[in-house]
């Protein structure tokens, strides 16, 4: 159990939120413990980003993208799924639990789901100990 809010990095594909309302919420009303990294496509998310987030001490990483067949760049989400899913398995292997990396693939009609999924993720992370196993330079600076 952690006594303060878990730090979450949200990688959001800039196309996956169909409703303008959801996008506005993510852009302007995210809780302070959640940090938004907007990318052109989940396919853009380099494993390095996730690794840096983990090293920096993030308690959880959420990746929100489009459902298959709905990718703005034809198949970027499929590439991301292949690459990042495998990387999450690897992180699990070295001590960063598998359920700290979560994917949410959103359908066009999943209005409001991003808020619910984030809340659920936060609740799940709160039940887990703080993630420090792989944090290399907590509070330090990356050069």
């Amino acid at each position: 159990m952690i006594d303060h809010k878990p730090k979450i990095i949200l990688f959001q594909c800039q196309w996956c939120l169909y409703s303008a309302e959801d996008q506005t919420w993510v852009d302007t009303q995210l809780p302070v413990n959640i940090h938004l990294v907007k990318v052109p496509c989940t396919g853009r998310i380099n494993t390095l980003y996730v690794l840096n987030a983990v090293q920096g001490g993030a308690d959880g990483v959420m990746i929100s993208g489009c459902l298959p067949e709905q990718c703005h760049f034809k198949e970027g989400n499929l590439g991301a799924r292949r690459q990042l899913d495998q990387f999450a398995d690897f992180l699990d292997h070295i001590g960063y639990e598998r359920n700290r990396v979560r994917f949410t693939w959103l359908d066009l009609q999943d209005r409001g789901r991003i808020q619910r999924d984030l809340a659920q993720f936060e609740a799940d992370l709160t039940k887990m100990p703080k993630s420090e196993a792989l944090a290399t330079r907590v509070g330090g600076h990356h050069d």
Partner: protein, 629 residues
């Protein structure tokens, strides 16, 4: 309906299915299945005590499943005749209804379906239409979002006799909606589902919008449309009235409906074409105006009645402009939307016309039919010689030929529609078609190919489509090669292989085999027989080594005059591309092969005589012509 039931000469049979239709105009024998209601019509007085006693509730189809009904029920309060009915699929056999019925003893669980045969003079088909199920269009969320409803559900919700007694409420929370959107063309004008326009929905959605406004003045109504079609008298004024009342119209087909999963509010995303901008608007409730589609059992009905279907599945009329209420089968008429979606005035007009047409038959002792019927030469029919055949009977789209091995095939003249499919198919030339006999057509071919046949393009055209197409090409002054020579038969099914062999034997440069598009055939499946034969011939000619393009198969509708002209010009170009010497050599080489296929020809009654006379006339004409020159 009540008036109809009271009229002594009208018998109303509800809950009855037509199983079989035999016979012909004036003499139909119709087999009906009177389904068992488990309530005796002669005893039930419509009191409804059984319904009150029945403990079982099932969704009420008439109320679009928005309300329940009992297993003992009448479909609706205005049912005619007012006889109750036990739904055996739902009944638990508690017999409470029997108790409630008491001394009347109208309920009879031992009833079974009754098969009845009726002698009928004329049939009017008025089976109506069905609705497209919008749940297959996931983008509109029907079935998943409770506040997305169909037009029929709106109809019931907004009806004072409906499940809510006229209170317009949102299915999700029972609260009255403050702003409603209607979406038109859901499943119609859509090549993914039904490419055609459903005809009445524009007016229908305007009507519903006005009704909502009248009954619930505070409600905002917005109609999304692709085009608003108000073509009949008073319709445009009705549209004006709707705008005056404050109903908003948005041009642009919405692409997506999304829902707030907690409040069940709906959001329509659509381009407002006039603004050129994508606008998301919020609504309390959305009504989808579904497409009109043929009844689910329309195909079955079409084979029971032996009537063709148009593209899209509607029953096909005799002529789309001149005889829209007649089926191609004498004595069968159409009224209303079974022939194509139409609104009330048009249905009433068609129904009256059909009734008038039917009464003409009932008042006549004799009936005139088309003279182009098929006739069998009994002495030539191999079945009479006890050989197994029946090809003609199988070829007939109307089952108008009686075939029993050992007896010559017999055409039931009143059922014959004169397509000539049997004649084209008969391998023994034992059947012919009046006014389109082999002798007549072969004589035409001989005349048309009398001089310089190698330069000629012989076009076989069917009466309903490609002949009309050629005619249109002429009246529209579309220029095409003057070497074309046309022959009309009733259907491509009549285009005998012999005609084409004979044309090539005479040295024809090219032959066009043309008819209706498959879905347009006037004779149900005539085009299919024709097309099969044409493709078989094509293979034969390819094997013979005929230059490609000298035999061409094209389906040309009566509206495609430009296509007819183009096809002929293309054929001319193909012919021009073959060096004359090579063409002559090819014709000479194939002539004996063609002749071999035609050895039976002179035995067909009348053919030799007709050809001899034709030769004589050609001879005479040629001499006359030479004298002039």
């Amino acid at each position: 309906m009540v008036d109809a039931a009271r009229q002594p000469l009208i018998e109303v049979k509800t809950f009855t299915e037509v199983e079989k239709v035999e016979g012909f105009v004036g003499n139909f024998k119709v087999t009906l299945r009177e389904k068992s209601k488990y309530v005796r019509a002669d005893r039930c007085n419509g009191c409804g005590a059984c319904t009150k006693a029945c403990p079982i509730e099932v969704p009420n189809y008439f109320e679009m499943n928005l309300a329940p009904r009992k297993a003992a029920y009448v479909p609706m309060s205005q049912s005619v005749p007012l006889i109750y009915n036990i739904d055996m699929d739902a009944c638990i056999h508690c017999y409470k209804c029997v108790e409630a019925c008491g001394a009347l003893e109208a309920i009879d669980f031992s009833m079974t379906d009754k098969i009845v045969e009726e002698e009928i003079g004329a049939i009017v088909v008025a089976t109506g239409f069905s609705h497209f199920d919008p749940s297959v269009m996931s983008e509109y969320g029907y079935g998943r979002f409770p506040n997305v409803i169909t037009s029929m559900e709106m109809e019931r919700l907004n009806n004072s006799a409906g499940p809510t007694h006229g209170a317009l409420v949102r299915p999700s929370d029972g609260k009255p909606p403050k702003n409603i959107a209607f979406i038109n063309c859901v499943g119609s004008r859509d090549k993914r589902y039904n490419p055609s326009c459903s005809n009445f929905c524009c007016m229908y959605s305007i009507k519903n919008a006005i009704l909502v406004k009248q009954m619930h003045p505070g409600t905002d109504v917005t109609i999304y449309y692709i085009d608003i079609r108000t073509p009949s008298k008073g319709y445009e004024e009705f549209y004006d009235r709707a705008r005056e009342m404050g109903i908003k119209f948005v041009q642009g087909r919405p692409s997506e409906i999304t829902e707030d999963s907690e409040t069940h509010q709906l959001f329509i995303t659509g381009e407002d074409i006039t603004l050129g901008k994508v606008v998301e608007r919020e609504f309390d409730m959305v009504m989808l105006n579904q497409a009109a589609i043929p009844q689910p059992d329309q195909n079955q009905m079409s084979s029971v009645l032996s009537v063709a279907q148009s593209p899209g599945g509607w029953f096909m009329e005799y002529h789309p402009k001149l005889r829209p209420m007649d089926s191609p089968t004498d004595g069968i008429f159409f009224a209303g939307a079974c022939q194509g979606p139409k609104d009330i005035p048009a249905s009433v007009a068609q129904g009256s016309a059909a009734a008038a047409r039917a009464s003409r038959i009932l008042h006549s002792d004799e009936w005139h039919i088309e003279p182009t019927v098929a006739v069998v030469w009994p002495d030539r029919c191999v079945s009479a010689q006890d050989k197994s055949c029946g090809i003609c009977s199988r070829a007939c789209p109307y089952s108008a030929i009686d075939y029993t091995q050992g007896k010559a095939a017999e055409v039931i003249t009143a059922k014959c529609h004169g397509c000539g499919a049997c004649v084209g198919e008969c391998p023994h030339d034992s059947i012919t078609q009046l006014h389109y006999t082999d002798a007549e057509i072969l004589a035409q071919i001989r005349t048309l190919l009398a001089t310089e046949p190698e330069k000629k393009i012989l076009a076989l055209r069917c009466h309903w489509c490609s002949y009309g197409g050629a005619d249109l090409a002429g009246t529209s002054h579309f220029e095409y090669s003057a070497n074309e020579r046309g022959i009309k038969v009733m259907c491509s099914a009549r285009m005998d292989a012999d005609f084409i062999y004979e044309a090539y034997r005479l040295g024809a440069g090219a032959v066009l085999f043309s008819g209706c598009h498959p879905q347009d055939c006037h004779y149900i499946t005539g085009q299919v027989s024709g097309s099969k034969r044409a493709n078989r011939l094509k293979t034969i000619f390819e094997r013979m080594g005929m230059s490609p393009g000298r035999f061409r198969i094209e389906w040309i509708s009566a509206a495609e005059g430009d296509k007819y002209a183009r096809v002929i010009n293309e054929m001319q170009a193909t012919l021009d591309a073959i060096p004359p010497e090579a063409l002559k050599e090819e014709i000479e080489r194939l002539r004996p092969e063609m002749a071999r296929k035609l050895t039976r020809l002179p035995n067909i009654p009348g053919v030799q005589q007709a050809l001899d006379q034709t030769d004589e006339i050609i001879q005479l004409m040629t001499e006359l012509h030479m004298e002039k020159v």
